[in-house]
C-alpha cells in the first residue's frame, strides 16, 4: 500500500501538482442476518479504493477510484490535476505545515485479527442466539426484523507529498436484534445492539436479545399525551444525539460558512455549568480512536465544552485558517477531500443515579427514541418525533408515542438540570442520562 501511495504522489508531482496527499483503504466485511431462526441474508465483501487530492498552486481538486490498476492510477492523476487547474485559487488552502505532522503512529489497539477467525456458521450462530434470546423472552414477542452479526476489517494508509506516511488496521464487530411485539392489535418494534473493536468485548448475544425484548415490550400499550411544557429526560443513546448536534455546530466548516448557532460563541457559556463535553481520539481500543487525523496530524484529547463554557471548536487545517485558529486535529479524509469529524465524543458523567433523575420529575417525559430531521443547525431550533415513557410522580408510568419534542438546542443545554452517572461507550458518541428542565411536548 505504501508503494502504491508513493507512486501515486510521485506521478501527481510529475504531472504538475505542487503538493498532494492520498489514501488507500482495503476492507473485508461479512454480515449475517437471521430471521425467526432461519438464515435470511448473508453478505460477503472485499473492497478497496484509493483517493488523491492535489494542489496546483493554490487550487485544489480530488479524485478517487476503486480500480487500482496502473492505467486507472494514471487516469486518477490526470483527472485530479486537470480539475485543479480550473478551480478557484484559495489562499487558505494547502497541506498542514510539515512540523505539525504526527512523528509516530501510536498503536491504539484498534485491530483484532484473531477475532475474525470464525466460520460463517459460527457467525450466523451468534446472530441466531441473539434473536432467539429476544424471541424467547416473552410470548408477546411474536415476530422479528432479524438478528444481525457483522464484522469488518480494514487497512488504511495515508501519505502526503511533504513526507508523511502512516498506516493502521482496524476491526469492528457488531451484534443487533429488532424484535416485534404484539398485543391487542397493536404492534411495536424496538432494538438493541453492541459494537466493539474486539470480538471478546462484544456483549453476550443473549444479553443483547433480552434487552431488545425488554425495550420492545415496554412500548406496548403506547398512548398519546396532551400538549404541555414539561421536563424531559433523554436516555443515554438519545442524550448522545444532542451531543452530536453540538459537535456539528462546533465544526469548522459550519462556522466559517456562518451556518452554525455557535458562530462567535467561543469562550462564552453555551450550557449549564454541569456540562462538560470532550472529544478524545486517543482512547485505546475505542470505536472512534485513530492514530492520526485525515491530514496526518496527531490525534489528541480536546475539551469542547468545559463547565458550560465553549472552549474549543473542531477544526481541520483549512477551516482553522479561515477562522484564524490552529487545527484541532479533527480532519477526516474522504474521496472528495477533507472535512471534520469527531473521534470518541462524550458528555462527561455526572453524579446522579438515573433512577433518581426519574424520581425527581413529577410529570414529564423519558425519551427512548427520536425520529426525523427537524434540527436547524443555523439557529439551533429543534423539533423531532419522540417515543418514550411518561413519568408520573417520579415513576415510569406508561409508554407514549406520536408526540414531538421541541425547543432550541442552546436553551436546552442551558436548562440541563441533572446528569446521570451512567456514561458507557457503546458507540463513537456517548452520553449519560440527561435531564432537561423544560421542553414543549406536542401531542393531542
Amino acid at each position: 500500500m505504501r508503494e502504491l501511495l508513493a507512486g501515486l504522489l510521485q506521478q501527481a508531482t510529475r504531472r504538475g501538482a505542487t503538493s498532494a496527499d492520498a489514501f488507500v483503504v482495503e476492507d473485508q466485511s461479512f454480515s449475517a442476518q437471521v430471521r425467526l431462526g432461519q438464515v435470511d441474508t448473508v453478505k460477503h465483501a472485499r473492497e478497496q479504493h484509493m483517493a488523491l487530492r492535489v494542489f496546483v498552486g493554490k487550487s485544489v481538486a480530488a479524485a478517487s477510484t476503486s480500480d487500482l490498476s496502473r492505467e486507472s492510477v494514471t487516469r486518477l492523476v490526470d483527472e485530479a490535476v486537470s480539475l485543479a487547474r480550473v478551480t478557484s485559487p484559495d489562499e487558505m488552502g494547502g497541506l498542514p505545515e510539515a512540523a505539525e505532522l504526527a512523528r509516530q503512529v501510536p498503536d491504539l489497539d484498534l485491530h483484532d485479527p484473531r477475532g475474525h477467525d470464525l466460520s460463517p456458521e459460527e457467525k450466523i450462530d451468534l446472530a441466531r442466539r441473539c434473536e432467539a434470546a429476544a424471541l424467547e423472552a416473552d410470548p408477546r414477542i411474536t415476530n422479528s426484523e432479524g438478528g444481525d452479526f457483522s464484522d469488518r476489517r480494514a487497512r488504511y494508509a495515508y501519505a502526503t507529498s511533504h513526507g508523511f506516511t502512516g498506516e493502521y488496521a482496524t476491526s469492528s464487530f457488531s451484534l443487533a436484534v429488532s424484535p416485534v411485539a404484539a398485543a391487542n392489535g397493536e404492534m411495536q418494534r424496538d432494538s438493541w445492539y453492541h459494537i466493539a473493536r474486539k470480538r471478546a468485548r462484544l456483549d453476550a448475544p443473549e444479553e443483547i436479545g433480552r434487552i431488545a425484548a425488554r425495550r420492545t415490550l415496554r412500548r406496548l400499550g403506547a398512548r398519546r399525551v396532551k400538549t404541555a411544557e414539561v421536563p424531559v429526560i433523554f436516555d443515554p443513546d438519545m442524550a448522545a444525539t444532542l451531543v452530536r448536534h453540538i459537535a456539528g455546530a462546533a465544526s469548522g466548516p459550519a462556522l466559517y460558512r456562518r451556518a452554525s448557532f455557535l458562530v462567535g460563541k467561543l469562550g462564552e457559556r453555551i450550557a449549564a455549568p454541569s456540562v462538560t463535553i470532550v472529544d478524545d481520539g486517543t482512547m485505546p481500543g475505542a470505536l472512534g480512536s485513530r492514530p492520526f487525523d485525515g491530514e496526518g496530524l496527531p490525534v489528541r484529547r480536546t475539551v469542547l465544552v468545559e463547565q458550560g463554557g465553549l472552549r474549543s471548536y473542531l477544526l481541520d487545517t483549512y477551516s482553522g485558517r479561515k477562522l484564524g485558529l490552529p487545527s484541532t486535529h479533527h480532519a477526516a479524509r474522504d474521496g472528495s477531500g477533507v472535512s471534520v469529524s469527531t473521534t470518541n465524543l462524550h458528555l462527561q458523567a455526572g453524579d446522579r443515579d438515573p433512577a433518581d433523575l426519574i424520581r425527581s420529575v413529577k410529570n414529564g417525559l423519558y425519551v427512548t427514541e427520536l425520529i426525523g430531521f427537524g434540527v436547524n443547525g443555523v439557529t439551533g431550533d429543534y423539533s423531532r418525533g419522540a417515543v418514550g415513557l411518561w413519568i408520573d410522580n417520579g415513576e415510569l408510568a406508561y409508554p407514549v408515542e406520536e408526540i414531538t419534542i421541541a425547543g432550541n438546542l442552546l436553551d436546552m443545554f442551558h436548562a440541563v438540570e441533572g446528569i446521570g452517572n451512567d456514561l458507557v461507550f457503546r458507540d463513537r458518541t456517548a452520553a449519560p442520562t440527561l435531564l432537561i428542565g423544560r421542553m414543549t411536548v406536542a401531542g393531542s
Binding site: Q38, V39, D40, T41, K43, H44, A45, R46, E47, Q48, H49, V60, A61, A62, A63, S64, T65, S66, D67, R75, E79, L83, V86, T87, S88, P89, D90, G93, S144, E145, E186, M187, Q188, R189, R219, A222, T227, R257, R258, A259, F261, S336, I371, G372, F373, G374, V378, T379, S383, R384, G385, E402, T404, A406, N408, T440, V441, A442, G443, S444
Partner: protein, 478 residues
C-alpha cells in the same frame, strides 16, 4: 442503446455473454430459486462553490459486481470491486454457499418481463458536459443570489452529476442493461440581519442533460427560492404545538406519502408482517379522495428507471385507489414468496448492496378543489409548503416530516411565517383525514434521496394541495 452496457463490460473487462453464462450456469446453477449477477460502472463528479469560487471539485470512479443466490427466504450475496473473472467466480461461490443448503426446488427460470423503457436517452449526459460551462453556471448562481438581497451572507452551490452503466444477468440466459444519467443543482444561502441568521435551500434536477438548468432559467428560479426562503425565516415566529388542521402545498410536501404510506407498502415488511399495513389489501386506509401511485416510468425524472436493479421494467403501480389499499411495491424475492406480481421496484444503492423493494416516483392524483378555496376554508391551522426530511417507524406506522417553510392560517388567510416544525402522524390513519384535494398536482423538482437499511436511492414525490383535518404539529408555542 440496449447493446451499449453489454458492449461496455465486454470491451472494458472482457465480460461477455459467454463468460457470464459460464459463471451463472456453472457456479450458480443448481438448487437455488433465483440467482443473478449485477455489474456496475459509475462515474460521478461533484463541484462545490462557496465564498464566490469553486473550492471543491472531485471525480470518482467505482466499479464492481454483485452476485446473488436465493433459495426459499435465504439470500446469499457477495460483491467485489475487482471485475476480473476469478474474483466474480469467488463471489459467486460465496453467495451460493449460503443459499443452496436447504433448497428444495430447481432454478425457476425468470423471464425478462417485457422490454425496458427508454426514459432518459440524452445526446450528451450531464457528466460529459463541458466543465467550464458548469463552473460558469455556479458563478452565476453566486452572483444572482448576492444581487437579490444585501443580507445574503454566504452562497453554497453544488452541482453533482453521474453516469451509471449496469448490466444484469440471470442463469436463464437473459441480460438487460441500462445507462442512467443523473444530475442535481443545489443552492444554499445563509442570510444575516443583525443577530438573526437563517438558512434557505432549494434545487432540482433529474435524469437530464446539463442544459436543463439553463432552460427556462431554472438555475435562477432555484437561487431565488433559496434566498426567498431564508429571508422569510428571518421573520418567522415560534411554530404552534398540538393538533390542528394542516394544509400541504403542492409538490415536495408529497414526502408525506413517501413516509405515511410508501415505506409501509414495501413488500419485504409486508411479507414479514412487520408493517402497520400488513394484511390490509382491499381495506380502506385513506379518504375516498385519495389515490396514490408509484410510477417509475415518467420521462427524465429523478426517481424513474428503464428497468429496476433486478432487470424488471418499471411500471405505474396503483397503491391506494379512492382510499382502498390496492397493492404493494415488490422485488423478485418478496413477490415470489408472497405469490404476487413483480412491480419493478427492486432497487439497490450500488453493486455493494442486494436489492430490496423501494419507491420510484410516489404521488397523489389531482382532485377537483381550487387550492385557494382549500385555504379559505380553514379557520385556524398550518399551511406547510416546504419540507426537510422525513422518517417512519414501519411497525407502528408513526411517521414524521419536518416543515422548513410554513405559515399560520388565520380565518381563511395565510398570515405569519412560522419556524420549522416537525409534523407527526400515524400512517394508516393520516390519509383518512384528507378532506380536500386540489387540482394542482405537482411533482417535486428532483432532489429526493431515500434511505432504507443503509442504502440510498434517488426518488421523486408529488402532491396536489390537500387539507388534512387533524395532525400534530411539533412547535414550541403551547
Amino acid at each position: 442503446m440496449l447493446a451499449r452496457p453489454e458492449r461496455f463490460f465486454a470491451d472494458r473487462f472482457g465480460l461477455n455473454a459467454g463468460t457470464m453464462e459460464r459463471l451463472l450456469g456453472g457456479t450458480l446453477a443448481g438448487r437455488v430459486d433465483h440467482a443473478d449477477l449485477y455489474l456496475e460502472y459509475r462515474i460521478s463528479e461533484e463541484l462545490v462553490l462557496e465564498e464566490g469560487g469553486v473550492k471543491k471539485a472531485a471525480r470518482h470512479v467505482s466499479q464492481g459486481a454483485g452476485v446473488r443466490a436465493q433459495s426459499g427466504e435465504r439470500t446469499g450475496y457477495a460483491h467485489t470491486d475487482d471485475l476480473a473473472l476469478p474474483n466474480i467466480e469467488e463471489a459467486a461461490r460465496q453467495a451460493r454457499a449460503i443459499a443452496d443448503r436447504a433448497s428444495t426446488s430447481a432454478v425457476v427460470a425468470v423471464g425478462a418481463d417485457g422490454p425496458p423503457h427508454d426514459l432518459y436517452t440524452l445526446a450528451e449526459p450531464p457528466i460529459a458536459a463541458d466543465l467550464d460551462r458548469k463552473l460558469k453556471l455556479l458563478g452565476r448562481v453566486d452572483a444572482e443570489a448576492r444581487s437579490l438581497d444585501p443580507r445574503v451572507r454566504q452562497v453554497i452551490a453544488t452541482l453533482g452529476s453521474e453516469d451509471v452503466v449496469v448490466l444484469i444477468a440471470t442463469p436463464s440466459g437473459w441480460t438487460v442493461g441500462d445507462v442512467r444519467p443523473l444530475t442535481r443543482l443545489n443552492v444554499t444561502v445563509i442570510v444575516e440581519d443583525g443577530a438573526r441568521r437563517e438558512i434557505g435551500s432549494y434545487g432540482g434536477g433529474g435524469r437530464v442533460a446539463f442544459d436543463f438548468f439553463l432552460e427556462q432559467d431554472r438555475w435562477k428560479r432555484f437561487t431565488g427560492e433559496a434566498v426567498r426562503q431564508a429571508l422569510m425565516k428571518l421573520d418567522a415566529v415560534d411554530a404552534p404545538a398540538g393538533e390542528m388542521t394542516v394544509v400541504l402545498g403542492p409538490g415536495w410536501p408529497g414526502i408525506l406519502l413517501h413516509e405515511a404510506v410508501g415505506h409501509g407498502l414495501e413488500g419485504d415488511f409486508n411479507r414479514k408482517k412487520t408493517s402497520a399495513f400488513s394484511g390490509r389489501l382491499g381495506q380502506s386506509v385513506a379518504s375516498e379522495l385519495v389515490t396514490v401511485v408509484d410510477d417509475g416510468t415518467i420521462q427524465n425524472r429523478r426517481g424513474s428507471l428503464n428497468v429496476d436493479d433486478e432487470g424488471v421494467p418499471t411500471r405505474r403501480n396503483v397503491l391506494i385507489e379512492k382510499g382502498i389499499l390496492r397493492g404493494y411495491l415488490q422485488d423478485r424475492l418478496n413477490s415470489r414468496l408472497m405469490g404476487m406480481e413483480v412491480t419493478g421496484n427492486g432497487r439497490r444503492e450500488s453493486y455493494a448492496h442486494p436489492p430490496m423493494p423501494r419507491m420510484t416516483n410516489t404521488f397523489m392524483l389531482a382532485g377537483e378543489d381550487e387550492p385557494a378555496d382549500i385555504i379559505r376554508g380553514v379557520t385556524k391551522g398550518l399551511y406547510a409548503v416546504n419540507f426537510g426530511g422525513g422518517q417512519v417507524d414501519i411497525t407502528n406506522g408513526r411517521f414524521v416530516f419536518s416543515a422548513s417553510e410554513a405559515y399560520l392560517i388565520e380565518d381563511g388567510r395565510v398570515t405569519r411565517p412560522v419556524k420549522g416544525a416537525t409534523l407527526i402522524g400515524n400512517g394508516p390513519e393520516a390519509l383518512t383525514r384528507v378532506s380536500r384535494v386540489g387540482h394542482d398536482l405537482k411533482l417535486d423538482e428532483g432532489v429526493g434521496t431515500c434511505g432504507k437499511d443503509g442504502q440510498s436511492v434517488p426518488v421523486g414525490v408529488g402532491l396536489p394541495t390537500i387539507r388534512i383535518d387533524r395532525m400534530t404539529v411539533g412547535g414550541t408555542q403551547v
